[in-house]
Symmetry: C2
Subunit: 186 residues, 2 copies
Amino acid sequence: MLTPVPLDKAYRLLNHGPVVLVSSAHGEARNVMAAAWAMPIDFSPPKVAVVVDARSYTRELIEASGEFALNIPCRQQVGSVLKAGTASGRDTNKFTHTGFSVRAGSRIAAPLIEGCVGWLECRVIDEPHIQKQYDLFVGEVVAAEADDRVFREGHWDMADDDLRTLHYLSGGTFFTTGDAITIASD
Amino acid sequence: MLTPVPLDKAYRLLNHGPVVLVSSAHGEARNVMAAAWAMPIDFSPPKVAVVVDARSYTRELIEASGEFALNIPCRQQVGSVLKAGTASGRDTNKFTHTGFSVRAGSRIAAPLIEGCVGWLECRVIDEPHIQKQYDLFVGEVVAAEADDRVFREGHWDMADDDLRTLHYLSGGTFFTTGDAITIASD
């Protein structure tokens, strides 16, 4: 079941550094790409930073729409995640290519990727210098949801191996998110 | 054994989103803090982005010195990593508090934390607006090393559970880096 994530807990979807799928739309055009370089940068209001290459089709759609979604995929999607990261939406219908189906977001027009375990709908905070200099986009998270099989009441619980989140290394190699350890603070 | 990591492979130490220890020094002063919000933003020359709170002692030392190191800790250090993230260097000698011992870096004055499995020595690229607005620092990686028990020839191999890297969630809970999966690209 999809469950809304309160905005002040939204950073927790991304805090452990998973790979994300960046989805975007403008008019009839839409796309999805994989990105390892995304992270939270603020708690409340929640903000994220993500690197989107200047030559990518996603970049064009984000700049035209001022919006993007970060979708957090899981282990059972790993083949499609790699495909989303290695083809370009200029040449290929990435949704056909990856097999991803989509649903509508609640606050933005970018489509959300089904089968993921977390979703962050973001509006770009315009920062022209770092966009140009570092391909770095800042977004404010305006809505967040999670799959309550793995994220409930602000906490991940990845008991099902197929639903573990992914961390990208290089060359088609990913890590899954491993065991949880909780340390009592002094 | 410590092994140098070629600069064009340095991003791979951080690509999977592990928690880092940010170490810094200025004159006789030095400090270490934990940070979940760090990521690569470029391959070559390698650059990183990291969020460092405006009120932190680390921030003061980074701004004074123009340098910081990102140290990548492992599972056997998890208790000390949490301590590094919950005390302030203004009130506490963080090295005594955490038990971390240090060694000298090769290119910068910030100390490197022993027992970690990867190290990125960074020089700040001054970006006053995003430092002030988002507490976001950009650094160029000027040297990188890894523990060759877990990172060799540009690839992680975390066969030893104690040496797995860590991903921070919240409230004293970490994930370890889990199993690797390699997908053949089409």
